[in-house]
Structures are given as structure tokens and as C-alpha cells.
Symmetry: C2
Subunit: 357 residues, 2 copies
């Protein structure tokens, strides 16, 4: 049965008019004490009450359209069936699927997520978390992790159930769900090497983020594995995951006369900037240079050429993070663990002509 239409209820049979029915109303109508009604309504305590009485209470609650008041419940229990979800920037297409994954899992067990946007501002982050804690959220999922992040470290150390998603901290005892960046870089590099590339450039992302350092480290490892020279000139550190940073890096490479036939971009936005810079110099892609990105953002299949990229299962990242947090809420003392999800190469240029070196 759908909940009663808001604002237009004819009113329960009790005296009051348009007020939402309270537990006391239900109890009164069912002829029991509010405490009994509470026990009957609560699945966890229902066994404490006579089966018949319980049924009657449920029945009355249903006809009255009773909905427990979560505020009152929170005040009493200091729990809220909700968690905080801290996102650096919702307009980055990376994050909405993570949010969806988290919400879907939480929703399945009656939990909600408070979503907050920090805009990458630590002050906003601390303020938001403080505000959420005062609302008795039971735990947090952070998508804002930095390698060194004292605030989250303290929060977790203080016993607040905390899970990281997409990005990890350097201290590793906080559970996290991330993509297997090392594995992703490995398949991307193998792809490039298989195409014949020997001079591959890496546009590395911010080195205060686990994604940035892990992909860079894996890039170096891959160079070694494939017997390629690890030339400092073929590495560009980008200070932000932004198109402009990618464009700047590639422009500098070209200006410096660095020779390369392929680019492993730390993510798709850097790859986009790379496209821009190459086009700006009249270089064709993949004719002159092959580019591989990271994330498989929406619409990168519409670029010309379509961007080959390493797909990260963001929805699943979120779903797993939610599971991890729920598990932690149920069994706070279980040892923590982190989850690495496999990445896959989305090859959109497999029909491209072999590289001319």
C-alpha cells in the first residue's frame, strides 16, 4: 500500500486532524502502552511481545499510516540509519556512479546517505563532517582521500566507522575500495607495447593522491618489465586532473623536443588535454601519437578518435564501499580489509593502423 497522499489525509479516527500519527496514537488505538507498540513495531524486539498484540499493533499502524519519527529515534538511540558520503566534486562524472552504487546498497537495508560536496576544500570538508556527526550519521564514506589526510586519519582512529572509495590514504588500516591501478596500467602499457610503441610518455596525476602515485609507480614498473628506458624526460607531473594540465604537459613535451609515439594519461581529462595539444600542433591521433586514458568517462567514445581508456567500475566501487561500511557498522571489531577491483582496457582504436616509429 502506498503511503497516504501528503497533505490531504482525511485524518485518522483519533481526535487530531492533519498531524502525523505518533507512536502514542497507535498505542492508544491498539489499546496498549506506547512501549509495547514500540516493541511490536520494531522487528528486532517484536519477539518480546504477544503475537496477537503485535499483529494488532501492526494493523493499527498500517491503517493510521504511522511512520516512525527518525528524529526522535535518533535522539534516543544516537543512531540514524544514515551515513555521510563525502565527495570532492559532484560535477566530475567520476563520482555520480559511485554515489549510485553506494545508495543502491544502502537503500537495500534501509540506510540513507547524506551527500556532501567539498569542492576540494578541506575547510568545507571538516565543517561538513562535523555537521554530519552532529546529525548522528553512523559512519562515513570518503571519496576525498589524500595520501596524507590527517583529518580522516584522526576520524578513523577515533573509532568512527570510515571507508575510503576510489582513493586511499598512505596509512593503510582504513578500509578502502579502489580500482586496481597497477593492473590497469599494466594492461594499458602492454596494449601500447603490443602496438609497437617503445617511447611512451606518462602524464602523471597529482602525487598527493593514491591514484596519481600508483599509476606512476605502475608506469615505471611496466617500463622495466618491457625493457624500456625510464627516461625522466618522458614523465610529466600534472598538478591537477584537468584538461588544461594535460594540454600544458604535452605542449611542454613537444616544445622540449621529447620524442614519443604514445601517451599514457593518468586519467581521461588529462587525455583530453593531450588531444587538444596534439591537435594544436597539427599532430594526428592515432596517426602520430596513440593516447590511452583512465576512467572511461561518459562520451569519451565520441571523441575523434574515440579514446582508448582503462575502465574503472565506479558503480561497483561504490557498492563495495557501502558493503564494507555496513559490515563495519555491524561488526566494528572485525579486522579491516581493503578491496581492489579489476580494471579493463576499453580498446577503441584496435583497428588503427600500426604505429610508424
Amino acid at each position: 500500500m502506498p503511503p497516504p497522499p501528503p497533505g490531504t489525509e482525511p485524518g485518522p479516527r483519533t481526535a487530531s486532524v492533519a498531524r502525523r500519527p505518533t507512536l502514542k496514537d497507535v498505542a492508544g488505538e491498539a489499546g496498549v502502552h506506547p512501549a509495547t507498540a514500540s516493541r511490536a513495531l520494531n522487528p528486532g524486539t517484536r519477539h518480546l511481545v504477544n503475537d496477537e498484540t503485535a499483529q494488532r499493533v501492526l494493523q493499527v499502524a498500517d491503517t493510521l499510516g504511522y511512520q516512525p519519527n527518525p528524529i526522535a529515534r535518533s535522539l534516543k538511540t544516537a543512531r540514524s540509519a544514515s551515513i555521510g558520503l563525502v565527495i570532492p566534486d559532484l560535477t566530475n562524472p567520476l563520482f555520480p556512479p559511485i554515489v549510485r552504487g553506494i545508495e543502491d546498497v544502502l537503500g537495500g537495508v534501509g540506510y540513507n546517505a547524506w551527500i556532501v560536496n567539498t569542492d576540494n576544500d578541506p575547510a568545507r570538508e571538516t565543517a561538513a563532517v562535523e555537521s554530519l556527526r552532529s546529525r548522528s550519521v553512523e559512519g562515513f564514506v570518503f571519496a576525498t582521500g589524500r595520501l596524507h589526510h590527517p583529518f580522516i586519519e584522526r576520524l578513523a582512529a577515533g573509532g568512527t566507522p570510515t571507508v575510503l572509495v576510489n582513493r586511499r590514504l598512505a596509512v593503510s588500516d582504513i578500509p578502502s575500495v579502489t580500482g586496481d591501478d597497477a593492473g590497469g596500467v599494466a594492461i594499458a602499457m602492454r596494449h601500447l607495447v603490443d602496438l609497437g610503441h617503445r617511447r611512451i610518455v606518462h602524464l602523471a596525476g597529482p602525487q598527493d593522491l593514491s591514484t596519481g602515485v600508483n599509476r606512476l609507480r605502475a608506469f615505471r614498473q611496466a617500463l622495466e618489465d618491457h625493457g624500456l628506458e625510464d627516461s625522466p624526460a618522458r614523465l610529466k607531473l600534472c598538478s591537477a586532473w584537468a584538461e588544461s594540465a594535460g594540454a600544458k604537459a604535452v605542449t611542454e613535451l613537444l616544445d622540449d623536443g621529447v620524442e614519443f609515439t604514445a601517451v599514457l594519461a593518468g586519467n581521461d581529462l588529462l587525455a583530453l588535454g593531450c588531444y587538444d595539444a596534439l591537435a594544436g600542433r597539427g599532430l594526428s591521433c592515432p596517426g602520430d601519437v596513440s593516447v590511452v586514458g583512465f576512467n572511461d568517462m561518459p562520451f569519451v567514445d565520441k571523441l575523434s578518435p574515440p579514446l582508448t581508456t582503462v575502465r574503472i567500475p565506479h558503480y561497483e566501487l561504490g557498492a563495495e564501499a557501502a558493503h564494507l561500511l555496513l559490515e563495519r557498522l555491524r561488526a566494528p571489531d572485525r579486522t579491516t580489509r581493503s578491496i581492489l577491483l579489476p580494471l579493463t582496457l576499453v580498446d577503441r582504436q584496435s583497428t588503427a593502423p600500426p604505429r610508424l616509429l
Copy 2:
């Protein structure tokens, strides 16, 4: 001063250890009654208390790091300084900027937004709204409006402060903030006509949404204004704002031998599908057909050719919606009004060769 680091407070001088200080703690420390402390802490009632005492209370609250408990406050006042924000699909890049606009404005006056994703599912919507109402949100912003939407109509009619953003309802007494679709279509059509187009097709969006019908109506109006024939063949109704729907529509047009040199797509996703279908038939763009979209989604400037589109100021839409709702919360009886924000053409093909008809 930053809030005390979570979980590691040395503890206030009162007996308790890691507990958050309560109003009673502050009152005790300041040597006043909790009620007085409450009055002093609350800007609205501060004038009721002696200036010195008030200062002392504020001082103590500060050193103790006191943060009022919003749950207790909500239980007492049935207010929450928060509103519900109902989004059909957060992964649609349209909506995150709206969310940001709303949050920025609300945050400025101490309000929060609960964001819920309905996934376009009415059942999820009613459930989410019910849940938010029970959390005492003070009002709602809906981005899920449909022309006929009994649920929202009842909610608003029942007195719940409600604002629509991006999409309106047919009943117009619910305040809304939307883009000026008619104006947007007019400039888009003028653009196409100025390029020399006479046979222009419209891919119309869902006709249960205000955006869909308004753009279609404006398209017809523009045909009339420019003295162009309003041929039913040059109109395609798409049942969803989706790439696939746009592709299907254009494919059908081509199959049916409909002659056209330009397409006004109801939004960018339909335009994307249009690109696909044209490419699939070996037609070049803008060589053979010009396309104009709607929204200026991220990265449509990266398509080839870059998509000319009507930009909707989504962030501002959100910001205005928040203002409207806040105004409504403050003065519930003021007459409602709706806001139309101007749209602008983002011409990315102005250098394109003139059309060969």
C-alpha cells in the same frame, strides 16, 4: 578557530570524557540555567539575555567546542534547517551543476540539502519524499517535475514549501526556475535560418515534460515566424532524452527519405544520437547537415564537429531555485512566482561553410 579534531579531544574540564558537550555542560560551566544558555546561543533570542551573561555563555561554548545537536533541536522545533532535493538521475551531467547552485546558496544561510536520486522511478520518489518529510525537512526542490505530476501537486497544495527546477508542472502555481526554452529555440532557429537552412527537423523530447513540449511549441512558432513550412514529416517525437532515441529518429527520417539540411535536437543527448546516425549513413556534419543541441553538456565541445548548442545556466537555475525556496520558507504567504533564465547560443560552427541546399 577550527572545530576540535574529532575523536582526540582531551576532553572538557567537566567530568565526562570524550562526549560531545551539551547545552547543559555549557550552562553548568557558565553558571546559568540551560534555558538561559539556549537563549544566549540563539541569535534570535539573544536580546532576551543580559549582554554580559550572553558573552560569557558564548565564550564557554567556544572553549568547550559546543555544537548544538540538530536532532534534539529538530525534535523540539519540527524544523531542521534542511531541505530535500529530488533529482531524477545524478549521472546525467545536467543535474550536478544544479545541485551545486542550490547547495551554495543554502550553505550561505546555514541550510543543508538532502539529495535523493529517484532514478526516474515514481515509487522511489514518493518513498524518498516521505522519508525526508519524516526527517522534518522544511521544503523541497524537485528536478523531477512532469507536466502532470499528482504527487508533487498534492504535496504543494498541502502547504509544503515546494520549488521546481529545470522542469515545470502544467499547473503553474508552484514556483519554478527554468530556462527560457522558447527564447532558446528562437535563437537556435534564427541561427539556422541565418545559415540558410529552410528544411529543419526537430527531434522533440518527451512530451510529458515541460522542456519537451516548450521546445516543440517554440520550434513550431519559429517555423511560422520565419515563414517555413510546418511539415509533420520534419518532426520526430523521441520518448526519452537519450542518444539511442536521437539515433533512431534520424535513421527513420533518412529511411523515409525526408529532406532536411538541419536538425534542432531537443537536447544534447539527442544531438549525439543524431551525430551517430548521420555518420552511420556517411553524411558529414556540418557539411551535409547542421545540428544544434540543447544544454551545452560537458565535453560536447570535443565532438567533431564541436556541437553548437543552446546553453542553459544550470548552476544559476539551482541558485535561483534555492533563493525562491528560502523566500518561501520565510514568507509562506507571499504570492508565488516563477523565474525564467535566459539561454544563449554557443555557436561552435560559425566558421563552417555555408550550407548547400
